[in-house]
Symmetry: C2
């Protein structure tokens, strides 16, 4: 039997280095116990200037944008949103165990922003100053994995010196044609299945769904082209609107908090997921993956 | 940039050993090219004596049972099915990015088969004679991974000498309470999200959905208990019936074939997934995982 190793999670954030993990002498905490010990400062509120609200008939999907990862694409998506580009378009594709995709599939809105040619932002330069929180577990796709700004990342310090968002469940990317610079953000997709890590560094990622992904993942699967395309326009789930949270009146915003990834508490949370201590488990896995760590999101607590 | 390694896939099936992979001099085939080269003998027809048809209002879910993995559980599930135990019950739980679960959640049918105590069949003895097809890619959860009888497996030759089904998308397992021997098969679940590999060797797996998983993965998510339970019985998707294919008249069976996993063709298929050669891809991943390989299923071709 593969023994659970009580590997500590190493954090290297803001220049400081921690090494946190339960010693063999203590009884390690369960996930519930870790989360109960979280303090207000272990949570963060996503920046409303980088948060999208996509309004579907079933409710609101909240997406956090990642400007550090793909600055020009994020800027262009904000421009499209400011122009109300997505309003009245729909979810055009739902492929089981892969992605849901929305936007202007029929190219009915050939606006300047929709047609803009952008550089290939599939990855960005990694530098030591980045707030990289490393997950020590081995990963077959990337030399290192972890989180930057709360987003899951792969890192290769040498030779490329690159970092990129890993295609985990809920990650949002920019649909494109065969050529890397053919995606403007007028079509977006979200991962709704087993992490398609083969897409890493092949397509531009711009953010992550924080809440409401079930409104997309539970849509009927399309049957077109072996790609989950809806074959009839009336099958598409209509998008009422996409807005930047900062442009929505305070009273209509959703007040949520996301667990920070650059804290000792998060390191304990990861350890509790690597080795489940709940009474249900017989054999702790002793391993986890960047795409198996769901980052908790909650309503802002009442004061 | 992480270079794609043209790692060959090693097959060790039925005593024979192959080493297959494109040489650096050839242009490696795309997945489409590999599949076009498949011969009739690269496909197999699932045994109707080990195939379940679950009839939902939306259609048929086809599940292949894995008697080698959990013989007593599979036998008991067949017994439950023979007694029409599941007919009129429903899907009781759909938790986003985790599982859909069905069966007698309310314990309204305390039959002998439903209450049967079975041994803990979370894993089984690995021996060299098993038709194990090894995936050479590193896996963080298991010493080795690959396929046995077409099902995804983890293997640990030493010290435990065990093999077990890995919790990939579509894998079906036996719901249980806190104790390992509390699952009879009266409640079953299927993975509908990122492979929850932490469940490996913690819960009994009995098979895999071959077709129709979208009928389960696209159901509305439940909101109960943080576990995706449907809070009202009327939310449950009704199960018209579950039958063994062999008990269904020929004319009502679904004639499908599954790609064999113990062939040179399958090794080429895996290689084409490890390093995508389609023109869309910029950077081949050079890596794959047992849960990222979807095993093709098709209608039996007309003669």
């Amino acid at each position: 039997m593969r023994r659970a190793s009580l590997a500590s999670v190493c954090l290297a954030a803001a220049g400081a280095a921690f090494a946190i993990g339960p010693s063999d002498r203590e009884k390690p905490p369960t996930t519930t116990q870790v989360m109960e010990s979280a303090k207000p400062e272990d949570w963060r509120r996503p920046d409303p200037a980088n948060t999208l609200y996509m309004e579907l008939s079933g409710g609101r999907v909240i997406i956090e944008l990642a400007p550090r990862f793909a600055p020009q694409h994020v800027t262009n998506i904000k421009q499209l949103v400011a122009e109300k580009f997505f309003d009245g378009l729909g979810v055009v594709r739902v492929q089981d165990n892969f992605v849901a995709q929305w936007g202007d599939a029929d190219k009915t809105r050939p606006t300047e922003s929709a047609l803009r040619k952008l550089p290939d932002e599939n990855a960005f330069a990694f530098s030591k100053g980045l707030p990289f929180v490393k997950l020590p577990d081995v990963d077959g796709y990337a030399r290192e994995t972890g989180w930057i700004d709360g987003f899951p990342v792969g890192v290769e310090r040498k030779p490329s010196g690159q970092a990129w968002m890993t295609h985990c469940y809920g990650v949002v990317g920019v649909g494109r044609e065969d050529w890397p610079d053919t995606g403007s953000g007028a079509e977006l997709y979200v991962v709704i299945g087993q992490a398609p890590r083969q897409l890493d560094r092949n397509i531009v990622t711009v953010g992550r769904v924080l809440r409401g992904i079930e409104l997309l993942s539970s849509l009927p699967r399309g049957t077109g082209g072996g790609l989950g395309m809806y074959e009839k326009p009336e099958q598409r789930a209509p998008i009422k609107s996409i807005r930047l949270a900062v442009d929505v009146p305070d009273a209509e915003r959703t007040a949520i908090e996301v667990l920070r990834t650059d804290t000792p508490l998060f390191a304990r949370y990861v350890e509790s997921r690597r080795n489940r201590r709940d009474s249900w488990y017989i054999v702790p896995a002793g391993h986890t993956e960047v795409c198996s760590i769901n980052i908790p999101v909650r309503d802002v607590p009442a004061r």
